[in-house]
């Protein structure tokens, strides 16, 4: 609703605006703007009724998905006020500001800042701060706050403040609210004196629980949008920044702070996230990973500065935040390369390569226990910890093997005089090679537990051949010789 208005004309000049949704085949108002609310339109009213009252009404189709996305983005961006944020229903946001107040002057200043910023972005917001999430919810929604205003409940004031509010303020389903009203329990204060025991069989334990939560008799955690990570540093900027140099400068300062914190704890970061909170309620996030835990500001900073060019600053960035998503005790892992004393310099190199080329493009070779040549060695990501040196078996070197092996053997045309003989000539990629010398066959059979392809018998006869120029190839014939079918030949590798 407000998202739409932001791009439209100011509401004063234009006729009232409503969004319309299809509910059970009826066209129903989903949301109304302040002008429409003034003439008595309310969400849930049918479109026909609304039209009857106000023919010049402007209509927009409701977009629940888009609204939810916008709300989620906004909640994400509210992370600038507190790292504990979460979306509430379709139109609310929770912020746990416990301990955040020292960063600003007071709770009220924080709430006013939030509402003012929301207004600048085109959202009409009401904010309430209270001892409990439930009390803040009730006050923000049911205390009749004017638009863009805030209400701060002092500690212990919740009980009195909630008493005159309707029971709907206890976050109860509509049918329970109706039932309570029928019993004459209209205000939250009406419930204060009630014994809990008779309420429970009638309404379930929900009413009592919500009441206790609102009054602070029962703990209620807010499930945060971002998992809570204590290793987080942030920096509020006096002026929005947008140049890569300024971002880099801020990043380096944050990195020094975070690394000092990690160093004191004896930890190193494996994954870091750098978030830039923009003035237009967007958050730009970039993350990096490292092959080994590290708390070297220079190394980690370099990995992230290489990604600064991917950050779109928009109209400016007003808050920078750096978090260690994954931490590990230092030196718990070895890179697994044959480099004991050079690990200190090689690991940063691997991280830089992996960050630019992608972790799956920085590889090392590991042997596998298989007879099939293409399965006997595998290239795995260097960052993949499952192939550490201690689990590794030795490389087989008893038989001649090519130094380059095609992942998929290439079919070749072959002239072989006798079925079991090496070829006299073969043609690979249209180039003929006359075989001058040959050695073989070396029969390699598929492991018995693997199902061979139809007609291949699961065996290959490999030959090493040398052509007239001295180039050496590794060829094989698939399957046993059968007079009725021409044999299939393949080129599989190249010797040095």
């Amino acid at each position: 609703m407000h998202r739409r208005q932001r791009s439209g004309k100011p509401a004063k000049e234009a006729p009232p605006l409503v969004t319309v949704a299809d509910i059970a085949g009826r066209r129903v108002l989903a949301a109304v703007d302040p002008a429409a609310a003034l003439v008595g339109l309310t969400p849930g009213m049918s479109l026909a009724d609304a039209r009857a009252r106000l023919p010049e009404l402007r209509l927009v189709d409701a977009d629940p998905g888009g609204d939810a996305k916008a709300l989620a983005e906004f909640a994400d961006w509210c992370g600038r006020f507190s790292p504990w944020t979460s979306v509430d229903g379709t139109d609310g946001i929770w912020l746990d500001v416990t301990g955040c107040v020292p960063l600003v002057d007071s709770e009220e200043a924080l709430a006013r800042d939030l509402v003012a910023r929301a207004a600048r972005l085109g959202f009409t917001a009401r904010a309430a701060v209270a001892d409990t999430a439930g009390a803040a919810w009730a006050v923000a929604r049911y205390a009749g706050l004017p638009s863009s205003s805030v209400r701060i409940l002092a500690s212990g004031e919740a009980r009195a403040a909630l008493a005159p509010l309707p029971v709907a303020g206890l976050r109860l389903p509509a049918e329970i609210v109706q039932d309570l009203k029928r019993l004459g329990l209209k205000r939250i204060g009406d419930l204060y004196g009630m014994a809990r025991a008779p309420l429970a069989p009638r309404f379930g334990e929900l009413v009592a629980r919500r009441l206790d939560q609102a009054l602070g008799l029962l703990e209620e955690p807010i499930s945060p949008r971002q998992p809570v990570v204590p290793r987080l540093v942030r920096r509020i900027l006096a002026e929005p920044i947008s140049t890569p140099e300024a971002i880099e400068h801020g990043l380096i300062q944050l990195m020094a702070l975070l690394c000092r914190q990690l160093e004191e704890e004896g930890l190193g970061a494996r994954r870091l996230e750098f978030a830039c909170f923009r003035v237009d309620a967007r958050v730009e996030r970039t993350a990096i990973g490292t092959s080994r835990p590290s708390h070297e500001p220079a190394h980690l900073g370099r990995l992230l500065t290489e990604k600064i060019c991917q950050i779109a600053p928009g109209f400016g960035i007003e808050l920078l935040q750096l978090r260690a998503l994954d931490v590990e005790p230092l030196a718990a892992r070895q890179l697994g390369l044959d480099a004991k004393e050079t690990d200190g310099t090689v690991a940063p190199l691997v991280d830089r390569l992996a960050n630019r080329l992608g972790a799956r493009n920085v590889l090392r070779l590991v042997p596998e226990n298989s007879h099939l040549p293409e399965r006997a060695a595998r290239a795995v990501s260097v960052l993949d910890g499952r192939h550490d040196a201690k689990h590794r078996q030795d490389w087989p070197a008893s038989r001649p093997r090519p130094i380059r092996l095609l992942t998929y053997p290439d079919p070749i045309e072959v002239m072989a005089p006798v079925p079991d003989d090496p070829p006299l000539m073969f043609r690979w990629r249209r180039v003929p090679h006359r075989v001058r010398r040959a050695e073989g066959p070396e029969r390699i059979a598929l492991e018995w537990w693997r199902e061979p392809e139809a007609g291949t018998d699961g065996i290959r006869d490999y030959y090493r051949v040398e052509d007239e120029a001295g180039r050496r190839f590794w060829l094989y014939r698939r399957g046993l010789y059968r007079p009725e079918t021409p044999p299939a030949w393949f080129l599989h590798g190249f010797f040095a």
């Binding site: 697994g336 480099a339 050079t342 691997v350 090392r364 070779l365 090496p422 180039r471």
Partner: protein, 263 residues
């Protein structure tokens, strides 16, 4: 820094060597400090200034595309012969390198870090990062092309840290690069152990051979109009990483490790 060299007498050779060393020191800041490492091929070492392959330098190995594996094989033999410790960074477009084959050539595959890159720009960046990193035994790269600017960057990075850079690339004319040496490698037909006696086809493979030419070498003058030297390198023993080089033309003594003095 100036060096006074007494010329004349029997000390002339020594004086010339000292002068050459001084000149090379003036050429680049990192080169002289990094020094040279013998390749292990006696005949080739004698043709190289200071008797070995310069560290802190970029070397290129060119080959026809069909001889690509021969070129990588020779590069591995060089690395093994240099006997430098540490991991090896190999930047290439397709990681077709086969562990068991490398192991047999004498290079433990566990030492390798492969960087798979799609574009030459990424590959050269990865090589430069590798050359800037102390502790690597060598950085190998297989770009499609190498121009003067890129090779100069790599050469400077190698000079600064003292690393060894090897570029394997297809032969495309005689384009100038900043590499210190350029080698041309091709496969060569193997020959029978007894000279003059042709062996039947099914007698098996003989020892593998490479034809290796040194086409460019900064710091010395070519020994003749053909270049700095050409050799046949032959595997001594198929299972061990030992090979000998013979001066080209000396086919008779292919299997003897004793090699004629090169110029």
């Amino acid at each position: 820094m100036a060096t006074l060299v007494q010329l004349g007498g029997g000390k002339k050779d020594a004086a010339l060597a000292a002068l050459r060393a001084t000149l090379r020191r003036l050429e680049g800041p990192g080169r002289a400090a990094a020094g040279v490492t013998p390749t292990g091929f006696g005949a080739i070492d004698r043709a190289l200034p200071d008797g070995g392959l310069a560290r802190g330098a970029l070397h290129e190995i060119v080959s026809e595309s069909a001889d690509r594996s021969a070129a990588s094989g020779f590069a591995i033999r060089l690395l093994v012969g240099l006997a430098v410790e540490g991991p090896v960074l190999w930047c290439l477009a397709d990681p077709e390198l086969y562990g068991p084959g490398l192991q047999r050539l004498g290079l433990a595959p566990d030492r390798l870090i492969l960087a798979r890159t799609r574009k030459d720009a990424d590959l050269l960046w990865a090589m430069e990062e590798g050359l800037k990193t102390p502790g690597l035994a060598a950085v190998l790269g297989e770009p499609h092309k190498l121009d003067l600017t890129a090779s100069r960057r790599l050469q400077l990075a190698a000079e600064r840290v003292g690393g060894l850079g090897l570029v394997l690339r297809p032969a495309d004319g005689n384009k100038a690069t900043a590499a210190v040496t350029r080698w041309r490698v091709a496969s060569a037909p193997s020959v029978a152990p007894v000279p003059g006696v042709e062996t039947p086809r099914d007698f098996g493979l003989m020892r593998g051979r490479w034809r290796v030419g040194l086409e460019r070498c900064r710091g010395t003058a070519p020994s003749d109009e053909q270049g700095y030297g050409a050799w046949l390198v032959e595997e001594n023993d198929a299972a061990r990483a030992v090979a000998v080089a013979t001066e080209l033309g000396d086919r008779s003594g292919a299997s003897t490790p004793a090699v004629r003095q090169a110029g």
